[in-house]
């Protein structure tokens, strides 16, 4: 089923027929995570780097912020039975306007936060397409496990289901996740 992931939203799924798509990635970051062994995947579209802007909102909508969103996504994927060391990560977005003073850096800050949280959790980025001025559309195709990008009328393949090695991870448990827990309780 074709499912749209809105800005500040996330969908994780184990339905092999699903196709997750998110439009209009500007400075926001989009992340797909896919476990090819378990056929579990997800797509998140985060708008701002840090949840400290509004802790209460971050509990209600963790996907709005990169720090709470990526944590939340990993947690949901592992709850469904995905294995952290199998996860193939594709990252897109983080665009910026033409800015000689370099003060409009939301995209850069989003990507830096994302990379840090994935790294702390031992998930390697398999493919990335970030920066520039393009707005991007990102799709995770569950039947094939592939992530594709579309921008300015062109479409291309980003990542495949090829396995990669990563740091030893806590398999099938959420207790070892590092990030900003959207809900402390």
């Amino acid at each position: 089923m074709h499912q749209v992931v809105g800005i500040s939203e996330m969908i994780v799924t184990q339905n092999p027929a699903d196709r997750l798509v998110t439009y209009s990635l500007g400075s926001c970051v989009g992340l797909t995570l896919f476990d090819p062994a378990a056929n579990i995947g997800g797509l998140i579209h985060c708008m701002l780097p840090l949840s400290k802007l509004d802790k209460v909102k971050a509990e209600a909508r963790p996907a709005m912020f990169v720090d709470t969103g990526v944590y939340f996504m990993l947690k949901k994927l592992l709850e469904l039975g995905a294995v952290k060391e199998n996860l193939v990560a594709c990252v897109a977005g983080g665009a910026a306007p033409l800015d000689v003073q370099g003060s409009f850096k939301i995209g850069e800050r989003n990507f830096a936060t994302l990379r840090k949280i994935l790294w702390k959790n031992g998930v390697l980025i398999a493919a990335q397409d970030t920066g520039g001025t393009n707005a991007r559309t990102m799709t995770l195709d569950m039947p094939s496990g592939t992530t594709t990008l579309k921008s300015q009328g062109k479409e291309w393949l980003m990542g495949t289901t090829k396995k990669h090695t990563s740091c030893p991870a806590l398999q099938g448990t959420t207790s070892g996740l590092i990030g900003a827990a959207p809900n402390a309780s």
Binding site: I7, S8, Y23, S24, L25, G26, S27, C28, M47, L48, P49, L50, L53, D54, K57, A95, A96, P97, L98, D99, V100, Q101, S103, F104, K105, I106, G107, R109, T133, N134, A135, R136, T137, K150, S151, Q152, G153
Partner: protein
């Protein structure tokens, strides 16, 4: 410059101002206007009245559920705010449709417009400056030129993209080179033909080049920065032009904010947008 003339000739026929809004604009520009006349004009259009009351009652516009009639709205919010709301609603059918050329899906231009309009207020607050009264209306209408120019951009899409890539220039500059006019000016020409106040017209005209406006740049700076922030969030950033616009160094240094402060403004814009979206949604039956 044939292309420019061809475009200018078509501008007014592309987007028409609904009669009600046009009567209202005249009245609001008239210092002797009578509140009764405003109320009468608006109440002749029940659809517009219903939608206006929905927006007026959102927390953002200050009604908080207590405005029951157009008269209430005028008394509580003032004539110029009511005129702004009426324009918003008059513009919404056009802004809700997909915009060709820029590859904007249905609703995207409308949401971008609302967020920039709200953003001017949030930004002024963060900067601790008083937002000029026209800024939020100008924010709402700043990209109306995309509706006009879209068909022309569509036809010349390849030349414009090539121009952007090869010359490494912003999208609006490429529009000017290829079409002889950019969407900001096209919007200004349209609004001028509708008889909107010069402050609004000039702010729309220079929203990508705030340093070139004559007079106080505060209003255009607010629209310019709110526009960039909204594009960053991806709202209204089409696959064609995306974020390919230049941040004005002048506006940047006149309106200094730290990274986190700027992100807070964007965050507030999005919260307001959520709220307005909810307010405008078809209301479920009460009770």
């Amino acid at each position: 410059m044939l292309r420019r003339d061809e475009i200018l000739n078509q501008i007014e026929s592309v987007v028409e101002l609904p009669a009600v809004a046009s009567e209202l604009v005249e009245l609001v520009n008239d210092p002797d206007a009578d509140i009764k006349e405003v109320v009468t004009i608006l109440e002749h259009d029940p659809g517009l009245t219903a939608n206006l009351l929905k927006l007026a009652n959102s927390a953002h516009y200050g009604g908080r559920g207590s405005i029951a009639s157009i008269r209430d709205a005028v008394v509580r919010l003032g004539m110029s705010k009511v005129a702004e709301l009426a324009l918003a609603i008059a513009f919404s059918p056009n802004a809700q449709r997909p915009v060709q050329g820029y590859h904007l899906a249905a609703g995207q231009l409308w949401e971008h417009s609302l967020s920039v309009s709200a953003g001017t207020g949030h930004l002024a607050k963060a900067l601790d400056v008083p937002a000029p009264g026209y800024a939020s209306t100008a924010g709402l209408l700043h990209d109306i030129g995309k509706v006009v120019l879209g068909t022309f951009v569509e036809v010349d899409a390849r030349s414009i993209s090539e121009c952007v890539e090869e010359e490494e220039i912003p999208f609006d500059e490429a529009e000017r080179r290829v079409l002889g006019i950019d969407h900001a000016e096209a919007g200004a020409v349209l609004l001028e033909s509708w008889g909107l106040p010069a402050d609004i017209v000039e702010t729309v005209r220079f929203h990508h080049r705030p340093d070139e406006i004559e007079g106080d740049p505060l209003g255009v700076d607010l629209v310019h920065i709110a526009d960039i922030l909204s594009m960053e969030s991806g709202i209204g950033a089409g696959e064609m032009d995306g974020l390919c616009y230049r941040v004005s160094p002048g506006a940047g240094s006149r309106r200094r904010l730290r990274a986190l402060e700027r992100e807070k403004v964007l965050y507030d814009m999005i919260c307001t947008l959520d709220e307005l979206r909810a307010a405008m949604a078809p209301s479920p039956s009460h009770g």
